[in-house]
């Protein structure tokens, strides 16, 4: 039996979730299908930087203008996702003064507010900055939580008649007389297949865009650019730090909760799956970060992660010089692909996409996503440290202070059997041990609550350990290496898991 709806969105990143929210607010019935959890592609594998636009102002003023407009909107509508840290563009000895002049002029032209700070003023704001800097320019960069952003966009969809299926992979696009009329989606763990039919199908799968388009008999030309980042175990800055120079590798550091994210690299890849991080990428990013914040070099790194930027194809140029603009492609067979763009402009992309859908449906409801604050922000306000510290009984995750009660609550309200879902929603396993101790516990609790069988939970645990190791391996030295050897001892020495 097939389900019927008006629009199917494939992809649960910021773009897909943004489209779902926009459709919900304009009263259009829809299904969103995501093969993993929210934000599991490029959305979740970026800096979590809400750009002021400064980074693009010299090379791509149009993108910069979009950024500052959306930055202003998101600071208003998504207060619980955005930390208004402010940002500094730091000019180090040897960095071009001419670039700085062009930067200031560009900011002025697109309307990004700046103020030029002397080294001492900048050090006053961020004491860990390299004291040898020449100067710093303050811009309204912010830190944004991409996962929470997706959740809140999905919240509106769910509460206004939309349907969200995570952990469902689209395995087939159903075509009739050359027209895409629906999809078959398979639940990842149970392999159950759902058939959903719609009038329009939106491909918002980012780096997987071409793979997905091919299921429907189309192609989308893209350049895939891998970017790797590292996470430090400390929050070394309260502001976003950029290097004031032509955008290059490893020149952004973003504070996020108790840690900092630094990156990225830019390496063209062919396949968005099975990405590996080369230890040399980690070294490159940390040496660059060290130049802006010297203590980055001696701070423990928790892990590295990597994502793929889905860039619009342009021949003969490298990843950095390709426009960060976006594009909507009408495949003229009932399917549209939305490509390119960046986290900061996700709302605008969704608006443009839904405008096209409305036109197809000959409806006139206008977009309201820029005016209405994201719904559900009170409910999903997270689990601040102050609460964590006052609730120390029965802690399951010692690194992030997550008690059993919160874990059970997440399991029960979601009914999930994916341990990643719990980790994303509670911060379980996000600390220095990266779930080495607490994932085993979370799965034990899921067993006790009857959500997974012991056999299945061992399978999940072993997949988790492999995935976790992939991120930790390229950044293993110092204390993180010590911790890793202990974790290895637990699973291979005590539990004999290689023979489970």
């Amino acid at each position: 039996m097939s389900i019927k709806t008006d629009v199917i969105i494939i992809g649960g990143g910021a773009t897909g979730c943004g489209i779902a929210r926009d459709l919900a607010l304009r009263g259009v019935h829809h299904y969103l299908i995501e093969k993993g959890d929210f934000a599991s592609g490029a959305t979740g594998a970026c800096h979590g930087l809400l750009h002021s636009g400064g980074r693009y102002v010299v090379n791509d003023p149009e993108a910069a203008h979009e950024c500052i407009t959306e930055n202003t909107i998101l600071r208003k509508i998504a207060q619980k996702c955005v930390e208004t840290t402010g940002g500094l563009f730091v000019r180090l000895p040897g960095d071009s003064k001419r670039y700085r002049d062009r930067f200031l002029k560009g900011c002025d032209e697109v309307g990004i507010e700046t103020s030029v700070l002397s080294p001492s003023k900048a050090l006053d704001l961020v004491p860990n900055l390299n004291p040898a800097m020449e100067e710093a320019v303050m811009v309204p960069d912010c830190s944004i939580d991409p996962f929470r952003l997706c959740m809140l966009n999905a919240y509106t969809s769910r509460h206004r008649g939309g349907n969200i299926l995570t952990h469902h992979e689209v395995i087939e696009i159903i075509k009739e007389k050359g027209v895409c009329v629906g999809v078959k989606a398979r639940e990842r763990l149970t392999a159950q297949i759902k058939e959903i039919r719609a009038r329009i199908i939106i491909n918002a799968t980012g780096a997987w865009g071409d793979k997905l388009a091919r299921l429907g008999g189309s192609e989308v030309p893209m350049t895939l650019s891998k970017g790797s980042l590292i996470i430090s175990n400390h929050r070394l800055t309260n502001m976003v730090i950029n290097r004031l120079r032509v955008p290059s590798d490893g020149d952004i550091i973003v504070p996020n909760e108790a840690v900092c994210l630094a990156g990225t690299t830019s390496i063209t890849v062919q396949d968005p799956d099975n990405l590996e991080i080369d230890p040399a990428e980690v070294d490159l990013v940390s040496t660059q970060a060290e130049q802006m914040i010297p203590s980055f070099g001696t701070t423990r790194l928790i892990r590295a992660y990597t994502g793929v930027r889905p860039l619009l194809k342009a021949s003969g140029t490298d990843g950095r010089s390709i426009s960060r603009g976006f594009k909507i492609i009408d495949h003229e067979n009932g399917m549209f692909s939305i490509l390119g763009g960046k986290l900061t402009t996700y709302r605008l992309m969704a608006e443009k996409m839904v405008d096209v859908i409305m036109e197809k449906f000959a409806l006139r409801t206008t977009c309201r996503t820029a005016e209405l604050p994201l719904e559900g922000q009170d409910e999903l306000s997270g689990y601040p440290l102050s609460k964590r510290l006052s609730n120390m009984d029965d802690i399951v995750c010692e690194c992030e202070l997550v008690p059993r009660r919160i874990v059970e609550q997440a399991i029960n309200t979601m009914g999930t059997h994916y341990v990643g879902d719990i980790q994303h929603r509670t911060r379980l396993g996000m600390g220095p041990c990266q779930g080495g101790f607490c994932t085993y516990r979370a799965l034990g609790i899921m067993q006790e609550l009857g959500k997974v069988s012991p056999d299945l939970s061992l399978k999940i645990l072993s997949e988790f350990l492999q995935r976790r190791f992939k991120g930790i391996r390229p950044a293993l030295w110092g204390d993180q290496l010590r911790e890793e050897q202990l974790v290895e001892y637990i699973y291979l020495g005590i539990l004999n898991m290689e023979n489970a």
């Binding site: 029965d394 399951v396 085993y440 350990l465 293993l476 050897q485 290895e488 005590i494 489970a500």
Partner: protein, 398 residues
């Protein structure tokens, strides 16, 4: 600064350091044992893995890499060390069982079986539990023990939950040491009216007198009882450490606990003294010979930087297996990542090869190519090389 004179100064309070210290103190040498804190063996299962790659651990020697430290000790040396270890433990509240010529299997918290060699008596009945009914008992609120892992894997099992009023392994162990608790626990088990078979429970039967507690329960319920080792912190590991430390102190050995070494005095080819950082006055410990038993990365004997590895007390050159990108396999579950080879290379007298130091001997998992996870030889290697290093050190002293 006060100076203390010793014949031997052992650095590192883990199994290898304790073994070396016990041997030398037993021979009448004035021995100092310095440790930065409680050793990593407190996180272990407490079982002595000698070599788990063969049914008889000694038969596994052939599969070891040519330069494995076990070859410097020899099969006989490994046997002697295990024998001495069992003798020491037989006088402690937690005797060990098992034969050096035959590995055994014990049940783990996820229902797999771990191959090991010598086990504390509280785990003796774990042997053969594949074949008969096992009733697993867990405790309300315990964090790292989920019996369903075991009951789903072993066909003939059951499980019950006991409320000890506390939930951490250490707190439950303390409850078992209270008068009358074990008796109440036994009465509760009897009331369960279980089918014939064994009773298994996480390793919480007290810290100080586990065998006596186990025997009391066992005789009251008239069936065999055994412990399953748990994740760190591990009570069997703690018991093992405490028993060995007590054995050393009973022989008159001096312990300096919780004191990191702040400086080393070296004169030509001789190490003369180390200075301990304490909260009060710094202490200088002088010795005729030194034994380095600080362990590998987890215990802090070795420390890795982005592109190298160094030894943390004396700065002795370390054998490093290639560049960082080669330190680990891609697959988490391939035991024995190349980084396990890192360590100090020694000559047949357990002296560090790349130095000219004459009175320093090295033992335990800090030795190069010990590959403890690959071979499952951690505590066995510690005992064997600890004893051997002590013996060559003894020759130096006489």
């Amino acid at each position: 600064m006060s100076t203390l004179m010793h014949d031997v100064v052992v650095i590192g309070g883990g199994i290898s350091g304790l073994m070396a210290s016990i041997y030398l103190a037993g021979k009448g040498y004035k021995t100092a044992l310095i440790s930065r804190g409680d050793p990593v063996c407190c996180l272990s299962t407490g079982c002595i893995d000698v070599l788990s790659t063969a049914l008889n651990p000694l038969d596994g020697f052939g599969d070891l890499s040519e330069m494995h430290p076990y070859h410097l000790v020899g099969k006989k040396g490994v046997e002697q060390a295990c024998k001495l270890f069992k003798e020491i433990m037989s006088k402690s509240p937690i005797p060990y069982v098992g034969s050096i010529r035959k590995n055994r299997e014990i049940l783990t918290p996820i229902g797999t079986f771990k191959t090991t060699c010598l086990v504390p008596q509280t785990m003796a009945a774990s042997l053969g539990c594949r074949d008969e009914y096992v009733h697993v008992i867990s405790f309300t609120g315990i964090k790292d023990f989920y019996p369903s892992y075991i009951t789903s894997r072993l066909s003939n099992t059951g499980f019950s939950l006991y409320d000890a009023g506390v939930s951490s392994t250490l707190a439950i162990a303390a409850r078992f040491e209270e008068k009358g608790f074990a008796a109440d626990f036994a009465t509760w088990i009897t009331g369960l009216e279980l089918p014939p078979g064994k009773v298994a429970l996480p390793a919480v039967l007290g810290v100080n007198n586990p065998v006596a507690i186990m025997e009391e329960i066992s005789s009251r319920i008239n069936r065999e009882v055994f412990e399953i080792p748990t994740l760190p912190p591990s009570i069997p590991g703690l018991r093992l450490f405490r028993a060995l430390k007590a054995a050393f102190q009973d022989l008159g050995g001096d312990v300096f606990w919780g004191m990191p070494i702040s400086s080393v005095e070296r004169h030509g080819h001789i190490i003369e003294a180390v200075t301990l950082a304490t909260s009060a006055r710094a202490t200088r410990v002088q010795g005729k010979a030194f034994i380095l038993a600080t362990g590998s990365f987890v215990s802090g004997g070795l420390f890795a930087t982005r592109d190298s590895v160094y030894e943390t007390v004396f700065g002795i050159p370390v054998h490093v297996p290639g560049a960082r990108k080669d330190w680990f396999w891609n697959d988490f579950f391939t035991a024995g990542h190349p980084i396990e080879e890192a360590g100090i290379e020694v000559d047949s007298s357990f002296r560090p090869k790349q130095t000219t130091l004459e009175n320093l001997f090295v033992c335990g998992s800090i030795l190069a190519r010990s590959e403890v996870m690959k071979n499952h030889c951690g505590h066995g290697l510690a005992l064997a090389t600890g004893l051997k290093a002590a013996k060559v050190c003894e020759r130096k002293l006489t």
